[in-house]
Structure formats: structure tokens, C-alpha cells
């Protein structure tokens, strides 16, 4: 048993706002202090958290931390490993890397920030085994991954079925099967139809552009998969990377996508990259007012930000055509990987510069999304690691949200025309500690359907972070005094004191035990692996936990 005494608890799930109270945990779960005699409490191993802020462990809903494209990114960027290294100790493994750290280092860095659960954002089923192997070598965190389906041939084959009743049933079965085959946690959709279009060397896909040769449109893919998420009662909503990422004026597509999905659950990922207006000359402006006006009226939708962090980083996504366009702009390194029957991916290094107008607008757009969305439960703090910047910048972003003066000081560092295209510097809102707790743990846990995460009420998992209060919120959130994982202290004063293995979170929806005969024939004919070798085996999951559907 472990007690955290006298901390100021910020637990929005349980409406605790700086309430001073003890937290007690046993066997990896938070337990009630009721009925425990004071003498026993006093004798318990106790962390004195007087004047400290106590929150649940952080939950990152969207981060690229493991798998084929992440590893290709590591290969591509040795130059950024050299000066960011960690030596082996008696407790920790060696590693290196800043924007794409090695797996062990990734776990340690997240843990040192107070995070205890992270989700890998995009996994093609054919390469899912690789993702799970890396996740096995990623300590300190509970983890899961999303299975990409937005350009999957089997999905499009089913969606081209003309019988609506049969189509719906077959799609539900297929989605469930794909999740089981890849041991995924949820459905990821990336530029639906657009990646397949790119393989045919045709232009970008609008919502009603038929995808050759199936003739299925992105709108149909979105509608069908959103319906399947609802029908299967998956814990997490559809995790959607919209079409036209990064293009000026894409706010129109994003809004139309949202309207299309009304009535369904959807999580819009790295929305910053999808919230751009367009000037008459085709340039970038912020489109956040339109987006947040809509979101403020539609609480059923959630999103994560993908906040830009100035400096060098590496973009990596299943949106292969977007990365190709980025490569054409940068003329630098470019890796790409088309995956048979399923998806593609691309990787391009980038440097975001405050004096570059487009980058400055992107930076402001992310913060505007955070500040203009009234309900923090709809927002999750991410950098789409490492696309918009490394996750290690979260404390810096928190400071920007909590400290208006600090935020205002940035106007001098940005391109002089920044005020012309954004409204960020007219916004006075400052996030409270409760709101920070919401966007970094309580909100993402709720969006993911993880009842026992994101809060520290009785019955919750004993993942707790203790921060020393500090007026500089970046300092406060970058070095927690203690991080507790599954009831054990794993970080003390910024140092890893114990290495632990986290759980593998997955789902097991009803149906999907096997593919129907028609899809089996397609699989056998056009995949280059046998179906029996496609399914990820139990051996690739450490401490698996099935999160119930429904």
C-alpha cells in the first residue's frame, strides 16, 4: 500500500479541484481511505505531497512511437540522435534520439513527464507485428495502437456491395476481424481514399471523389466505418485524419467531414493541420473560428491538436501523398512505403521556423483551437509526435496555455504579419490546472473509453503524477516530483528509479472470428502472406488487457 498525503488533487473526473486529500493505493488500484484507521494510514509508506499538485498519470491519445514508419524515421535521421543520448544504468537501458527516440528512451522520456499511457497512432495490419515488437521494448507505459482502415481494399470491396443490409453486416465483421488480426485498439482513418488515389497517380481526394477501381468515395468510407464503430460499441470513436492535410483552405473539407459524421462518434486527430483558411491569393490563414464555432455546438466530437513546436523534427504519416508533396517542397530526404491492399506512408524531415509565416500561422492555429474550444473535454493536448514536434515539448505548450503574458511575448518572435492571419493575440483565456488535467489525462482517457484511467477516484488504476507547484508552468510540468505507475514509484525528481512493463490494451468486439468467403478469396489471391501468418499472435503482447466494448 502507498499513500500520497496532503496533495492538492486535481481530478476533474471526480470534480476535485485542488482539494487537499490523501490518495491511497493498493495492488495497482486506488482504494478508499474510509475504514482504514488513522494509525494504519500513518504507518503506511507515505509520500508527503504538501504544496504539490496531484493528478492522474498522463494519457497520450495520439503519438507515433513504434512500428515500421517510426523505425524508418530513426534510420533516416542519425544526425539528430548523436547529441541526445542516454547511457545504460543499473535500472535503465541505453538509447538515443530526440524527435524519434529509441523505444526504451521513449518510455523513459514519457514517464519522466508524468505520462503513463500512450497510443501509437497508425498501424497497417500487415506490419502490426512489428509495432507490437517495438511496444514490447517500450517500458513504463500502458500502450495500444490504432489500425488503419481508410484505404483498405477489403473495406472498399465491402463498401461497394450494393445490398445495404449485407454491406453493413459484412463491414462490421471485417472491421472486427481487422482489429483482432492486428491487435488494434481502434479504427484509424487516414486521408480516406486519398492514399489509394495517390497509388493511381491521380489528384487529391475530395469527399465525393470515387476511389478507383472500387468507385467508393471517401464519404462512403467515413460513413461506413463510423457506423461500424457505433455498431460494434468500440470504446474509442473513429480516429480520423481528414483529407487535404496541410493545404490552405482545408477547413472547408474538415467542416464538411464533420457534418458528414454528425450523429456518430468521431475523434479528429491533429486538427491543427486541418484548420486552415485561404487568402484570395491562395495563402494560409487561420480557420479556427469556423472550426471551433462548429465544435462548440457539437460536443459529441473530440479532437487532438497537433501543436507545432518550433525547431527541427520529422513528419511521418500514413498519408503518403501529403509526404510526397512535402518532399517536393523541401527537396530533402523522403521515405515512402506503400503497403499492399492496405495503405501507404511517408516520412520527411522538417524544420518549423517562427519567422516563416506559414509555420507561425500553424503554431497560432493550434493554440487558437485550444483556446477557442469552450469545452476542454473535447480537446486533447498532442504534438502528433513527432510530426508537429516532439512530445517532450508538452510542458512548454502548457505554459503557453496557462500564461497569457508569456504567450503574448511570442508575438515579437514570429513573422511580423502573424496578427493579420490569426486571432491568437486577441485571446485572453488562460487554462487552469483543472483544464490542463482534462486535456492531458481525464479527457483523453474518457475519449478512449478507459474508465479506470485519467482519474484517481476509488477503483482507478494507480497511475499518479505529483508535480511541485511552480509559477513557471513549463518547469513544473517537465519534472514531476514523483510518477507512480501501477502503484509503484517509477520516477523521482526526474529520474527513473524503477523500470516496469506496461499493459497492452486491445479490444475484442463481437463478430469477426473469420472473414466471409468472398473476402477470403480476395485475401488469398492478392496478399503475399498467408492469412494464417497475418494474425498477430499472443506472444507479441505483454500483459494484454481487453477493454470491453459496449
Amino acid at each position: 500500500m502507498l499513500r500520497i498525503a496532503n496533495g492538492r488533487v486535481h481530478d476533474p473526473t471526480n470534480t476535485l479541484s485542488g482539494t487537499v486529500q490523501d490518495i491511497v493505493m493498493d495492488k495497482g488500484a486506488i482504494i478508499s481511505t474510509d475504514g482504514i484507521p488513522q494509525g494504519q494510514l500513518d504507518e503506511m509508506e507515505t509520500i508527503d505531497a504538501t504544496d504539490c499538485v496531484v493528478m492522474a498519470g498522463g494519457v497520450d491519445i495520439h503519438s507515433h512511437i513504434a512500428g515500421a514508419k517510426v523505425n524508418t524515421g530513426r534510420i533516416m535521421c542519425p544526425e539528430e540522435h548523436y547529441s541526445h543520448v542516454s547511457s545504460r544504468t543499473k535500472i535503465t537501458r541505453a538509447g538515443c534520439g530526440r524527435c524519434v527516440p529509441t523505444t526504451y528512451r521513449t518510455g523513459y522520456l514519457y514517464s519522466k513527464l508524468g505520462y503513463t499511457t500512450v497510443f501509437e497512432a497508425a498501424v497497417p495490419p500487415l506490419e502490426a507485428r512489428h509495432t507490437h515488437e517495438e511496444l514490447q521494448d517500450l517500458p513504463m507505459l500502458d500502450k495500444g495502437c490504432y489500425t488503419v482502415m481508410g484505404n483498405n481494399h477489403l473495406v472498399m470491396q465491402v463498401l461497394s456491395d450494393t445490398d445495404p443490409v449485407r454491406r453493413k453486416e459484412r463491414l462490421r465483421n471485417l472491421v472486427s476481424w481487422l482489429l483482432k488480426a492486428s491487435r488494434g485498439y481502434g479504427i484509424k482513418v487516414v486521408n480516406p481514399g486519398g492514399v489509394e488515389d495517390w497509388k493511381w497517380n491521380v489528384g487529391a481526394a475530395d469527399l465525393d471523389t470515387p476511389t478507383p477501381p472500387f468507385g467508393v468515395t471517401p464519404r462512403q468510407i467515413l460513413g461506413g466505418l463510423a457506423e461500424a464503430v457505433d455498431d460494434l460499441k468500440l470504446p474509442h470513436s473513429m480516429h480520423l485524419h481528414c483529407n487535404h492535410l496541410g493545404e490552405a483552405g482545408n477547413v472547408a473539407t474538415t467542416l464538411e467531414t464533420m457534418r458528414t459524421l454528425e450523429g456518430h462518434r468521431a475523434h479528429f486527430t491533429h486538427l491543427q493541420f486541418h484548420s486552415y483558411g485561404k487568402t484570395p491569393k491562395g495563402g494560409f490563414t487561420s480557420g479556427t473560428v469556423e472550426i471551433t464555432d462548429y465544435l462548440n455546438k457539437h460536443p459529441e466530437f473530440t479532437f487532438d491538436v497537433g501543436q507545432i513546436v518550433f525547431g527541427s523534427t520529422l513528419t511521418m504519416t500514413s498519408d503518403a501523398p501529403m509526404e510526397f508533396h512535402l518532399h517536393q517542397m523541401t527537396k530533402g530526404k523522403w521515405a515512402s512505403g506503400d503497403i499492399e491492399m492496405e495503405s501507404g506512408s511517408g516520412i520527411v524531415p522538417i524544420t518549423y521556423k517562427p519567422k516563416m509565416l506559414v509555420n507561425a500561422i500553424q503554431w497560432a492555429v493550434g493554440l487558437e483551437l485550444l483556446l477557442l474550444t469552450k469545452n476542454p473535454w473535447q480537446v486533447v493536448l498532442t504534438t502528433d509526435h513527432p510530426n508537429a514536434g516532439p512530445f517532450t515539448a508538452y510542458p512548454q505548450i502548457i505554459k503557453l496555455l496557462m500564461d497569457k503574458d508569456y504567450r503574448q511575448s511570442w508575438v515579437e518572435k514570429l513573422h511580423p504579419k502573424i496578427r493579420q492571419f490569426t486571432c491568437l493575440f486577441e485571446l485572453d483565456r488562460e487554462y487552469t490546472l483543472d483544464e490542463i488535467a482534462i486535456i492531458t489525462r481525464s479527457g483523453p482517457a474518457r475519449t478512449l473509453g478507459l474508465d479506470r484511467k485519467g482519474h484517481i477516484g476509488v477503483g482507478a488504476e494507480a497511475d499518479v503524477t505529483i508535480y511541485r507547484t511552480n509559477t513557471d508552468k513549463s518547469t513544473m510540468f517537465s519534472t514531476p516530483a514523483y510518477v507512480i505507475k501501477h502503484g509503484e514509484v517509477v520516477v523521482r525528481d526526474g529520474e527513473i528509479v524503477k523500470s516496469v512493463t506496461g499493459k497492452s490494451l486491445g479490444v475484442s468486439p463481437e463478430q469477426g472470428e473469420r472473414l466471409d468467403d468472398e473476402l477470403t478469396d480476395t485475401f488469398d489471391a492478392y496478399y503475399t502472406v498467408k492469412m494464417a501468418n497475418y494474425m498477430v499472435e499472443d506472444e507479441y503482447l505483454d500483459t494484454p488487457e481487453v477493454v470491453p466494448c459496449g
Binding site: 523505425n71 530513426r74 540522435h81 529509441t102 506503400d338 503497403i339
Partner: protein, 430 residues
């Protein structure tokens, strides 16, 4: 009689996973669908195991592992090398042993496709999975590779003959170009064969890049050749690349080991990138050993680098040339070696082997081979994919799980290395 279906062959980077193996009384009776090499590899997987020994004296596995741990614990600058024909699970153990011993870690790609891996550090690589070739490719180029003999089912299963989703005519629907320095069984299968002079890969790739970008290439009268092939032939190749719908360029050791090393592959990779301004076009490295790609993958996710890593400072450092196997052996930099799943006695230069014979060398392998007689410590292991399970990465990064078909009297690489690691840690702490 038990029939195992969908068995993964571990011979080459194709990892064909449709093999059928019949087993009776713990003996492999027949192998179906595999190529000639794969069939023989599986049929004879558990024959001729070495005897566990220390300094030539027969001993138990446990005693051999204990001696190996002692050697590695005492070594000041050990080399851990091989990795390419064992599982990613064993490779993960080897990375940690390198960390614990503050040694050097390198795999066989150091002198095969290593330059291609290094090229990715400079340019990236636009690539695709093998099924995309099967389903979409209407132009296939084989450059400096001879898969008919080295990857025997590559053409029939992935790249040339198969009828795919959008390639219903199979071979008839594909144009095939071969570039090599001599005729091979693969070049005979091509529509266009360009026999080039050795050592001109960079020059050829540069010319093709220029042609694809529409640059006029002018040559002095009578000297209008690149790689001793007339420029008009290269113009046709460039037109074929620009005119295809989905083209794939396979490159082999003829590109990676050609003079100029990694910049050859850089230029080929840039050629592939350039072609994407006109069409979809991809490069695929014809990786050799079954899991040499896995060795690069595992080392990268654990150390940040795909090969040539040194842990002497406690964290991974990467410097090809300094920390790659052959230069280290040439400089006589190391004082002990742990060699897993490769046969340096057969593959490395004589001087390198002669030096290895002078230092304590530990060798894990399922077979007796040219390294066995002179290794200080010999540890027989169960052959992966036949008597031990684990993960292999196909040449296109698709990981597959190997099956266990028969029992072996010996432990797997992974089991031996785990024990060895624990003994080294124990020695360090005591």
C-alpha cells in the same frame, strides 16, 4: 505424419510463407513448394549440429554458456556480430549483451546491403511491399541482382509472373529491364538487357536522373555512352520509367558493392524519388539473409542505428568504418567475439579470420561449419523456423512468425543468449 502448412522459409529475404512440411517421428520427411535451396535448408536443418565445446574439449551447453559469459565479462572491447539469420527476439538479447559489455555490435549488412542502409540516412527510400509489385507493377527493373539464382521464387511469387489485382495478365502485362555487368538467368528473362561495364552505377543513375528531369545530355562525337551502353538506350529506359503506371526497381549487391559504395545507392534512391514526379516508382533492396533486414530493424529501434554501433561510453555511438566488423578486425581492435548465426570462417577475408583465431571467439550456430573448428566456445542451437520459433523481417519490412516443426536437443539462440546475459549481469554485480 503431421503436415505443417504455411511454414515460413528462412533462407532469403523473400520469406516465402506457403511451404508445406511433413514431419513424422520428429523427422522432416518432405518439403513442398519451397525453392531448391529453401527445401534443402529445411530438410537438413537439424543435421550435423556441432558439439558443445570449450577450447576444443567437449562439454555441456551450460558449461559452454558459462565460459562464454566469463569471456565476455572480462573482455575490454568485445565484438558482437552476425545476427542476420536469427530471430528478432535473439537479436534483442544481443543488443542488450552489447550494452552490458560496452562492446561493439554489427550485423552482416555491414558488408552487403549496408551501403544501401547508409544511403537511407542521406536520402530515404521510396519503397513498397512485395504485394504492391504483384498487384500493380507494370515495369520491373532488376539492377545488379540475379534473383533467379539468389531469390529463386521472387519472380514467380512477387515480381514478374504473378497475376495481381491490377495486373491480370501477369508477365504479359509487365515490361522488364535488367541492368548487369554480365548475362545471368535473370537478364535472360528481361525485355531489355543493358550490359554495363563494372563501376559505373553512379554515372548511370546520374544520367537517368538527368534524362528523367528532361536535361539535355550532350556527348562528344563517338563517346555517347554511359557505362559503355549507348545513351539512346538509357533514353529509352528513362521513357519507360516515365511512361509506366507503377514501376519497381530492385537493386542488389551489384549496386551496393559497386565502387563508390553508399553514394551509388543514394543516387539510385534519388532516381526513384525523381521518377515519382511523373508516375509512381519504387526501389526495393534485394536483401539476402532471411532476417538481415530484421537485424537492421531491431538495432535501429534499440540503438537508433541499423549497424556499426559501439557502446563503450554506455550509450550507442554509430560510425561505419570505425565500428564495422571488417575494419575492427583489420585493426585488431577487439579482444573477444560473440558470433551468432553466421559463418565468418566461410565469409570473411582470411586475415580477419586469422585474427579471430587469436582471440576468444564464441560461436552460436545450428550447424558445424568453417568457424566451428577454431572457435574457443562452440554452442549448438536449435535452427530457427524448424526447431525454434521467433520473428523474421522480410526484405520489404513485413514481419512473419516462424514455426517450430520438430524438437531439437539444443536450446534456441534466444534461450542461450538470455542465460548468457543473466550470467554476465551476475558477474558484473558480484
Amino acid at each position: 505424419m503431421t503436415v505443417h502448412k504455411n511454414v515460413v522459409c528462412t533462407f532469403c529475404g523473400c520469406l516465402c510463407d506457403d511451404i508445406e512440411v511433413e514431419v513424422e517421428d520428429n523427422t522432416i520427411k518432405s518439403v513442398k513448394k519451397a525453392c531448391a535451396i529453401g527445401k534443402n535448408k529445411i530438410m537438413h536443418a537439424i543435421t550435423e549440429p556441432p558439439t558443445p565445446s570449450v577450447n576444443g574439449t567437449k562439454t555441456s551447453i551450460d558449461a559452454a554458456v558459462t565460459e562464454a559469459a566469463r569471456i565476455l565479462s572480462k573482455a575490454r572491447n568485445p565484438l558482437i556480430y552476425g545476427l542476420s539469420s536469427t530471430t528478432s527476439e535473439a537479436q534483442r538479447e544481443l543488443v542488450e549483451i552489447a550494452e552490458i559489455t560496452r562492446g561493439n555490435l554489427d550485423n552482416c549488412s555491414s558488408y552487403c546491403h549496408g551501403p544501401g542502409v547508409l544511403a537511407r540516412q542521406q536520402t530515404g527510400l521510396v519503397s513498397c511491399s512485395l504485394g504492391e509489385i504483384k498487384n500493380r507493377a507494370d515495369l520491373v527493373i532488376y539492377w545488379g541482382c540475379n534473383p533467379v539464382e539468389s531469390h529463386m521464387r521472387h519472380l514467380s511469387r512477387y515480381s514478374l509472373q504473378p497475376k495481381g489485382l491490377y495486373t491480370p495478365e501477369g508477365r504479359k502485362g509487365r515490361k522488364v529491364i535488367a541492368i548487369d555487368i554480365r548475362p545471368t538467368p535473370t537478364t535472360k528473362r528481361a525485355d531489355v538487357f543493358l550490359q554495363v561495364s563494372p563501376g559505373h552505377t553512379f554515372e548511370i543513375a546520374s544520367a537517368l536522373r538527368a534524362l528523367i528531369q528532361g536535361e539535355p545530355l550532350e556527348f562528344p562525337e563517338g563517346q555517347d555512352t554511359v557505362g559503355d551502353v549507348p545513351i539512346d538506350s538509357w533514353r529509352k529506359v528513362a521513357d519507360m520509367i516515365k511512361g509506366c503506371k507503377y514501376g519497381v526497381l530492385h537493386f542488389g549487391l551489384g549496386v551496393t558493392q559497386c565502387r563508390n559504395s553508399d553514394i551509388n545507392v543514394e543516387q539510385v534512391a534519388r532516381l526513384v524519388q525523381d521518377a515519382n514526379r511523373h508516375t509512381r516508382f519504387y526501389g526495393v533492396a534485394m536483401r539476402g539473409h532471411g532476417n538481415v533486414n530484421g537485424a537492421n530493424q531491431v538495432m535501429t529501434w534499440l540503438t537508433g542505428y541499423p549497424l556499426c554501433v559501439n557502446f563503450s561510453k554506455g550509450y550507442p555511438r554509430h560510425n561505419p568504418g570505425e565500428y564495422s566488423t571488417l575494419p575492427m578486425l583489420a585493426r585488431k581492435d577487439i579482444d573477444a567475439a560473440l558470433i551468432v548465426a553466421t559463418d565468418p570462417g566461410a565469409h570473411l577475408p582470411k586475415d580477419a579470420v586469422d585474427f579471430l583465431k587469436t582471440i576468444p571467439t564464441i560461436h552460436l550456430d545450428p550447424h558445424r561449419n568453417l568457424t566451428t573448428p577454431w572457435s574457443s566456445v562452440v554452442i549448438p542451437v536449435a535452427p530457427v523456423g524448424v526447431a525454434a520459433t521467433g520473428t523474421f523481417y522480410r526484405m520489404d519490412n513485413v514481419p512473419l512468425r516462424l514455426k517450430k516443426l520438430v524438437d531439437s536437443p539444443f536450446p534456441s539462440d534466444e534461450e542461450v543468449l538470455k542465460t548468457m546475459k543473466e550470467k554476465i549481469v551476475y558477474a558484473a554485480n558480484s
